[in-house]
Structures are given as C-alpha cells and as structure tokens.
C-alpha cells in the first residue's frame, strides 16, 4: 500500500500550497477588510461619459 504514502504526500503538498497561498493572502492584506469587497462587486465600471462639453 505504498501508494498511500504517495497520495498522502500529494495531498500534503497541495495543502502546503494552499497554506502558502493563505499566508500570502494574509500578508497581502486580502483579509483585512471583510465588508467592502462584498459591496464593491455590485458596482459596474461603466465608463464615465463626458457631459461637461
């Protein structure tokens, strides 16, 4: 059943990649603001028409 060790290795590897991603996200401030992002996605980025002329 040596395959178990290989698969566990793969799973741990994936988990470590995810852990790395989590640390990066934490460090990058991705989790600092837990409210604004949920509202921001509702806003569309339509170009502002030049109406001043």
């Amino acid at each position: 059943m040596s395959i178990l060790y290989f698969l566990i290795g793969c799973s741990v590897l994936l988990a470590l990649i995810f852990l790395g991603a989590f640390f990066w996200a934490q460090h990058d401030g991705q989790h600092d603001d837990m409210y604004t992002p949920s509202v921001r996605i509702l806003l569309d980025d339509k170009p502002i028409e030049n109406t001043e002329k």
């Binding site: 395959i3 060790y5 990066w24 460090h27």
Partner: protein, 706 residues
C-alpha cells in the same frame, strides 16, 4: 492618476455559453437513453456502439466535462474579468482554450462508443486525450493567472480564490490519475494495480466532484448571486472561512468510495472522518448563499433566476448533508452499489450544477446581448418542469436504492438468503427505473425550452463583443506598502522555507514513484498468478464493453454477500489488476467469484441473449462477441507492458504468448462443442469466457479429488 479605459471580452463568454447549452442537451439525451436501457434492453439498439456499458461513460463525460466544464469557463471568463477589472490576459489563449476544449469533447464522443476506455470512472479517456486535457488546462491556467497579474483591483474577491483552488487541484488530480503505460495509440495500462489503483482512482474521483463540480460553482455563486439579487453576500467573513476550510478538508475524503473493500481500514476511517468534517464548510457555503437573500424573498417570488438559485443551493445543501451520511459505514453498507448513489449524485448534478448553470445563462445572455429575456413565461415553465423533473428522478431512485439494498441483505428465519437470485431485486425496482426516466425527460424538456428561449433572446439583441469599462490602474507595490515594506523582507525566510519545502516534496515524490510501485507489486498471496494471455485479452474486452459499469468485482465482508457470491475479496488477489475493476454500482450481481460458478456453455448462451438463461434480465445482448475475431496482434506488447509494471511473466513469454492463447482458446471451444455449441476458437467470446472463468478462483480451495 488617470482612469484607464478597457474592454471586457464577452465573445468568449458567449461561446462557452452556447457550448454549455449544446453539450448539455446532448449529454442529457445520452443520459436519457442510458436510463431507458435500464428497463428496456431493446434500447441498446442492437449494436455495440450504443450499449449501456459504452453509453454510460459518454453520458458522464458529456455532462461533467462538456456541460459543466463549459459552464465553468463561461462563468469564470465573465466574472474574472469584472472582479479584476481587466480583460482576459490573451484573446489568443482564450480562443485556444475554447476550441481545444471542444476538440477534447469531440474526441471523447468519438472514442468512448468505440470502447476505447481506461475504465477509471470520469477519467475514461485514453492517454493521448489525457495529454491534450493537460495542455488545455495549462492554457486556461496561464490565461487566468495572466489576468490576475495585470489586474486593476488589488483585493481578490473570494470567487477568485475558488477558481485558483479549482485550477491547482484539478491539475494535480488529473496528472496523478493519468499515470498510464501506453501500448498503442488508444490503449494503455495504469501504472498501479488493484487496491492501489482503486485508491488513486477514488482519490481522483471524489476530488473531481469537489474541485470540478463544487469549488468553481461556489466561486460562481459568490459572484452571480449577489449580482442577481443586487445585494452583498450575507457574510464575506464566512465566505473566506469556509473557502479555506473546504479546500483543506476535501482532499482526503476519497476513500469513502471504498468502504468495506480490501483498502486498509485505517485509510477507510480517515476517509469517513474527513467526510463528516466536510458538513461544516459545505453548509457554510449553502447558508451564506441562502442568507444573502434575507429580506429579499419577495424578489424570489417574482424573479425566476433567483428561484433557480434557491433550488440549486438547497440541492447543494441536501447533497452535502447526504454525502457525509452515506460515508458512515453503517449507511454505506446499504446504500453503496445501489441506485441510492445515483439519486444522490443527480440531486447534486441536476439541482446544484444544472440549476446554477441555467440561472447564470438566463442572467448573462440578455445582458451580453443588450436586451431582455425573450420570454419570462418560458423560463418559469423551465423552472417548474426542471424542479419536478428532479423530484421525479430522485425520489423513485431513493426508493429503488433502499429496496434493493435491503432485499439483498434479507435472510429468512432459517438463516438463508431470502432473495438468493439477484435478478429478483432488479425486477422489483424496474417501475422505479421507468419513473426515473420520466423525471429525466421532464428535466431535459426544460433545457430544450431554455435553448429556444435563449436563442430567441440572442436573435432579438446584438452581442456586445467588447464591453467598455473604466478603472484606476493598480498602485505600485512600494506605494501600497509604504512604511510596512520592510515587513515584507522580514517575512522572506518563512516564504523561502515554504518554497523550499514544496520543491523538496516534489523532488522526493518524483523519486519515490518508481521505487514504490515496483516493490509494492510483489504478490502477498502465493497462489495468485498473473492472467494467461487469453484471459488478459478477455479482460481487455471486459474493459472495452464497460462491464464494470454494472458489475462490481469486490465482495464485501458481510454474510449476505459471502453467502451470495463467495469468500470476501482480499487485497492480495488484485495485485496484477491493471487497472482495478471493482466498479461502483451493482445493476447486476458482483462477479469477483464468478469463475467456475457456471459452465462455459452457460456464459456463451448468456452473452448471446441474457434472457435465455435469466428471464427478465436487463443486460444487453453481446452477440457481436460471438461473430468478432479476437485481435491478438498486441498480445506480446501487452505482456511486455505488464512485465514492466511488475507482473512476473517469465522472460521470453511474450514470444509464446499467442501459442499459449490459442491452446487455451481451443480447450474452451472444444468444451463448448461438447455442449452442442459450435464456435471457432478465435472469437472474442472465448477470451471473455476464459476471463470470467478465472475470476476469483486463485484462492478458492480446490476439492482434493480434482
């Protein structure tokens, strides 16, 4: 700083959307055909290309990778651009991704009915297609990460995290489950055998559900549901929490597909424990979705799109509650191998994946075409007939599953099997199979109505191929971090350590694979011998015909099974099985102890027309096995390949393999002749009979007088 003007690519989203609809209808039609074959054998249409064994993988591949796959790319390409405030990284890569994926699907449509299959569920496609999938997946990855790098929004919304997890995990799973040794252009053997192969397959199989049918859809839910309801997600914090916990826990739930098999029991328990833990993060997603609609339920009453979302989320909640329950050993003992599992996956597939896809299509298409939906009434009809279809599909199958699971376990007061003939349980559930296909047909009707409705919508509008948008460019990292920049350097050792660890692990894994596989293939049961060349050829026909779709080859250690089939299966019996053929469903009886149960003539007649030997059987006829000549040109290559994988054929055996094959075939043909059946020894049926008669006999105690 000046805002930058740019354009979102809607054309690629539209293309994936159309592909989703077209493949959805095709995949579901094939599913309906397969469903009808399960109560009316005539629906196998009397030819080998449309028998259940070959059609079933076509159905699963079409709905998973063609319907859901295209829907994922549609949702990702639409939401990713808007969440990152950037056009996709490269239009060329988008286009390669789209056409490459459609070609892969077409190659599946071409190869699966021909019987070109690896037999691993949801990974049936042969090795050249596996390579193509890997390449296209990499194209998708480059395109996605390229877009992330050139984004104009520093914060990455939770949906993007789900997409990233999907990409990374599917890549690893697909590669590990595609370790195959090619023999010819469309035939290969898996590197691993027996129990090990089973574990790899279900490690993949379950995570395919997790990271192809679940995480991308959760990501899409987190973008589209707030957009549809025009209100923020209930709790952004919860979404982050359940994302990280979900991806950490999901990866090791696979062994719950192998409960009571010869997989080491600690690995089984590990699978059960992780499956139970999964309830929390799964329900986190469902609750977050449903609560997003708090205070907006009046909208649900009027808006058919939100109705689809609510039913979809509810189906997700039900399926992710039922999954952990089914992975409890006591419940699994009844449910496994029965229609219960088919009902379970279809609640997830039809409800969660299907309904979310429809909702997104109804929301996206009018928007991208600058128009309104052609008919709200038709969409409403689709919703109701689809919901009823799910109920008509799932409820009868739950019923069928309980009925069959319990019947097969029932003993009389005297301690004998109450239903010793497996067929009795099959006949009892046929009405439920009829009901199920009615449910499926209702669901499909809804999809066809949607296709018409959306085509009319597209015709009355005009595609906005490039949608203009404006956003501020991203600040430079140094400005962004300002004073805290030195902290980045401080953290570097930790990052370095993680990177180093990852690199080391990759290296050792690559180094370990060959050593591990070879040493582990040493047989643990001395009486278990490799297949003879004829049996090996017969086994490959068994794989080609998809017999594994209806017949398991693993007897669980229950008295009800050892009484019915024979001694329970041991790990050491499967060491030469590249691939393993344990199966996951018993539409017919288990075959692991089939060898020697019936005479050769019985098998011959049964294959020609199963109803001759078992009146009422729903197995298709396999009469072409009688007329087709066995192809023995690759026998030597097969023996060589097997030897490379650790099967101890003596040196030079490949040279005399076909002579050995002919000798064994002649003996079987002679025996058939004695029973009044005239058949040439070079027909495929002879090889199949040889294989079936070998099954499970190696460890049978032979009577002393024989």
């Amino acid at each position: 700083m000046q805002p930058e003007k740019f354009y979102y690519d809607n054309k690629i989203v539209r293309n994936f959307g159309i592909a989703t609809i077209v493949w959805g209808i095709i995949g579901m039609m094939v599913g309906l055909l397969a469903a009808m074959q399960l109560f009316k054998p005539d629906m196998n249409l009397g030819n080998q290309y449309t028998t259940f064994g070959r059609i079933r993988p076509l159905h699963t591949n079409a709905v998973i990778f063609a319907f859901v796959g295209n829907a994922i790319f549609m949702g990702v390409y639409y939401s990713l651009q808007r969440l990152l405030k950037a056009r996709m990284f490269s239009d060329l890569l988008s286009s390669i991704h789209f056409w490459g994926w459609q070609l892969i699907i077409l190659s599946a449509v071409a190869t699966l009915p021909l019987g070109l299959t690896t037999s691993h569920e949801y990974a049936e496609l042969e090795w050249p297609i596996d390579i193509a999938i890997t390449l296209i997946w990499v194209v998708f990855g480059i395109n996605m990460f390229g877009t992330i790098i050139k984004r104009r929004e520093r914060h990455m919304y939770v949906a993007i995290w789900f997409y990233i997890a999907t990409f990374v995990t599917i890549a690893v799973l697909h590669i590990v489950n595609s370790f195959e040794l090619p023999i010819s252009a469309f035939k290969s053997y898996y590197l691993f055998a027996g129990v090990q192969d089973a574990l790899v397959q279900w490690w993949y199989g379950h995570n395919a559900v997790a990271f192809f049918l679940t995480t991308p859809y959760l990501g899409m839910m987190y973008y589209f549901l707030p957009k549809m309801a025009n209100r923020p997600v209930y709790s952004y914090k919860l979404s982050i929490l359940h994302f990280w916990s979900l991806i950490f826990i999901y990866i090791w739930a696979g062994p719950h597909h192998l409960l009571y098999t010869s997989l080491p029991s600690w690995a089984q328990s590990l699978g059960v424990a992780f499956s139970i833990m999964l309830i929390a993060p799964s329900w986190g997603g469902m609750i977050n979705g449903l609560l997003t609609l708090r205070g907006a339920w009046d909208k649900v009453r009027d808006d058919v799109i939100l109705k689809f979302m609510v039913v979809g989320l509810t189906a997700y909640g039900m399926a992710t509650f039922e999954g952990p329950m089914l992975s409890l050993k006591q419940i699994n003992a009844i449910g496994h191998f029965t229609d219960w599992i088919i009902a379970h996956v279809h609640v997830g597939a039809l409800g969660w994946n299907g309904f979310l896809t429809f909702a997104i299509l109804y929301w996206l298409i009018p928007r991208m075409y600058g128009t309104q939906l052609f008919s709200k009434k038709m969409a409403s009809f689709h919703f109701w007939i689809g919901t009823l279809g799910i109920l008509f599909y799932a409820v009868p199958l739950y019923w069928a599953g309980f009925t069959q699971g319990l019947m097969l376990k029932e003993f009389t007061p005297e301690g004998l099997l109450k239903y010793p003939n497996f067929l009795e349980s099959t006949m009892r559930i046929l009405p439920m199979h009829v009901m199920r296909s009615i449910g499926g047909a209702m669901y499909l009707t809804g999809v066809i109505v949607m296709a018409y409705n959306l085509s009319r919508t597209m015709l009355q509008g005009k595609l906005i191929s490039n949608e203009a948008a404006e956003a501020m460019p991203l600040e430079k990292m140094s400005d962004y971090y300002g004073e805290t920049r030195h902290r980045f350097l401080e953290r570097k050792p930790i990052q370095m350590m993680i990177v180093a660890l990852v690199v080391i692990l990759i290296g050792s894994a690559i180094e370990l694979i060959p050593t591990l596989t070879i040493s582990s293939n040493i047989p643990t049961i001395a009486s278990v011998k490799p297949y003879t060349p004829l049996e090996l050829e017969g086994r490959d026909i068994y794989i080609r015909e998809g017999c594994v779709g209806c017949h398991s080859q693993t007897v669980r250690p229950f008295r009800s099974e050892t009484e019915r089939y024979g001694d329970y299966s041991k790990a050491g019996e499967f060491v030469y099985d590249h691939p393993f053929l344990w199966g996951s469903k018993r539409t017919g009886p288990d075959l692991h102890r089939e060898g020697g149960k019936y005479g050769n003539a019985w098998h011959y007649n049964h294959m020609m027309d199963p109803r001759l030997m078992s009146p009422g059987s729903i197995m298709p006829n396999y009469d072409w096995l009688i007329s087709q000549k066995l192809d023995t040109t690759a026998t030597a290559d097969k023996i060589n390949a097997m030897r490379k994988l650790g099967v101890p054929y003596p040196d030079g055996f490949e040279k005399i393999a076909n002579a050995d094959l002919n000798k064994q075939a002649k003996a079987i043909a002679d025996d058939l002749g004695k029973n009044g059946i005239k058949v040439k020894s070079d027909k495929e049926i002879v090889a199949v009979i040889a294989y079936l008669q070998r099954l499970g006999t190696d460890i049978k105690v032979k009577p002393a007088n024989k």
